[in-house]
Symmetry: C2
Subunit: 135 residues, 2 copies
DNA sequence: ATAATTGCAAATGCTTTGCTTGTGA
DNA sequence: TCACAAGCAAAGCATTTGCAATTAT
């Protein structure tokens, strides 16, 4: 079963053939592919889907809250299916590998900091960049 | 006195007229200007300095650890003089205003999280996006 | 002197868009 | 049916770069 397709239906996002393929590919990805990589994977299923459609679709999905966009270092935007529970990312500066993590204490402190400054926290971005400890 | 010019001398970064102007403008900026804005301010002092030179110079300064580059939401990179002490940013989603803050507890937790995942923390990015609480 | 720097314009890389044809509900 | 979506190629935008002329040390 396919999560993104379900979410599209729930949110009344029109489902075309190409959107179904893109949705499937994204649902089956456990990493954080950029548009180019997504396009390659999508083309394995249907060669005729253009990169413009991939761009338009990820943007549509993002605006519908179905996927999340990340601007990690490197210039190109990367996407993942919107998770049930929020998480942040640690990026391996050597391999580029991305590890997801959750830290409730940090979240609590972020809210506290924002409030102290007179703001209501609406969104945040936390990225850790690190190198593997060899043991 | 001009901090960035001093830092250039300390780091053996060749000081041309245009770099001096750019350094001065950046040292006198308390906000986080993008290259276009920087170019405008620089041109008030010397109309002939090209935007290519501004791009080359901020990159040079950044690689020398003299200024910091930020990729906040909005597409264009923004710069500030490298601070003595590290700080993070809260961005007002309505006005675009940027507030700097320091939270040692969050820093400590970040290191803890990285270590738990088997990584040595090399760098991090924390951006809070919020809206002003009206009282 | 001479290796580095500048200005200009052209090139780049990612992303968006106009337009015509195709299609889902 | 018919408003919306796709494909293609052209345009956009921030940033980089090749090259000839200029400059710092």
């Amino acid at each position: 079963m396919n999560n993104i397709v379900e979410k599209c239906k729930a949110k009344n996002v029109r489902l075309t053939d190409q959107r179904k393929v893109i949705a499937e590919v994204m649902s089956n990805s456990t990493d954080h592919p950029d548009v180019d990589e997504l396009h390659k994977r999508v083309n394995k299923v249907d060669k005729k889907i253009s990169i413009a459609t991939v761009y338009r679709t990820v943007k549509l999905f993002e605006e519908s809250g179905i996927v999340e966009k990340h601007d990690f270092k490197g210039g190109k935007a990367r996407y993942e299916e919107a998770p049930e529970e929020h998480h942040d990312h640690l990026i391996d500066i050597n391999s580029g590998e991305i590890i997801e993590f959750v830290d409730k204490d940090i979240e609590i402190l972020q809210n506290k900091v924002a409030k102290k400054l007179g703001y209501k926290l609406v969104d945040h971005k936390l990225e850790l960049y690190g190198s593997k400890i060899k043991k």
